[in-house]
């Protein structure tokens, strides 16, 4: 009950932020807002996504630091893939590799898999037990991902949540 009310309150605040006005002159618009909040709360209850499941991501300095690191990695990988695409002859050596995921929680694994996909050149294809199946566009990208400390960084982030 506490979770659903928290979700409703944050949705209302978000809606007010986006609409920029809460004046009662626009009753129709306000009605749409209330209706969509109620619909979202109903869907959240139906999907059983409220009990014990963290609705929000806790913003910590570590998370911000991880985002900055990830942004740098994304930038570097983007330039690498752009070079492949723009080269006169496309030189690729696609690979399918398995990367160990040491995260304990679903949110942790999802964060790691999403980070892999966000980095161009590597896409997470499937999750098998504690390994993520990754498609990489070149040998180098596959090797780079296996060598990178992304997994440890996400796991360190996860321990801070508790």
């Amino acid at each position: 009950m506490r979770h659903i009310l928290g979700l409703g309150a944050s949705l209302a605040a978000f809606w007010m932020l986006l609409s920029g006005s809460i004046s009662l002159d626009h009753k129709l618009v306000l009605g749409f807002g209330v209706a969509s909040i109620i619909l979202t709360m109903f869907l959240a209850i139906r999907m059983d996504r409220l009990d014990g499941f963290p609705v929000s991501i806790r913003l910590s300095p570590n998370l911000i630091r991880y985002w900055i690191w990830l942004a740098k990695e994304i930038g570097k990988a983007n330039i690498d893939v752009a070079k492949i695409v723009l080269a006169p002859n496309i030189k690729i050596s696609p690979r399918m590799v398995r990367v160990k995921a040491t995260q304990q929680t679903d949110v942790g694994i999802a964060t790691f898999a999403n980070s892999i996909t966000l980095t161009p050149g590597t896409v997470s294809v499937d999750i098998e037990d504690d390994e993520i199946l990754v498609h990489a566009i070149t040998d180098d990208m596959a090797a780079g991902l296996i060598e990178s400390d992304m997994d440890e960084r996400v796991t360190a982030l996860e321990l801070k949540y508790r």
Binding site: L17, V81, A82, I90, I92, T119, V123, V125, E128
Partner: protein
């Protein structure tokens, strides 16, 4: 001051256009479904995010910037999820990736048995 902001937002816009163009070119040039996903990733991440940064610079400190920040955050979370869903669906129906060594395609279970 205004001119510096304008110049910076022009630089971000042009960089964004360049990466979206590169991503589109990659979609056309790369050989198969999986490799094309990588090219689409360039458009998703650098391309759109650079454009949004340019727009934020133009909007200044206003509610529009907050909205643009929200859009960029949502793209950051939803675009890899969508890419993963596509790759996962292709893998589930057994679409074979182009040029991948045969050893990589062996399922993990038979390797152990």
């Amino acid at each position: 001051m205004e001119m510096i902001i304008d110049l910076a937002s022009w630089a971000f816009l042009l960089a964004g256009i360049f990466f979206i163009f590169t991503g589109t070119l990659g979609m056309l040039r790369l050989p198969d479904f999986y490799t094309r996903l990588h090219a689409a990733g360039i458009t998703d991440t650098l391309g759109t995010e650079l454009m949004l940064i340019a727009m934020m610079l133009q909007a200044g400190w206003s509610i529009v910037t907050v909205k643009l920040l929200m859009i960029s955050l949502f793209i950051f979370f939803t675009s890899p999820t969508a890419t993963h869903a596509l790759a996962n669906a292709a893998n589930a129906v057994g679409l074979r990736p182009f040029g991948v060594p045969e050893a990589d395609l062996r399922p993990k279970k038979t390797e152990e048995a």
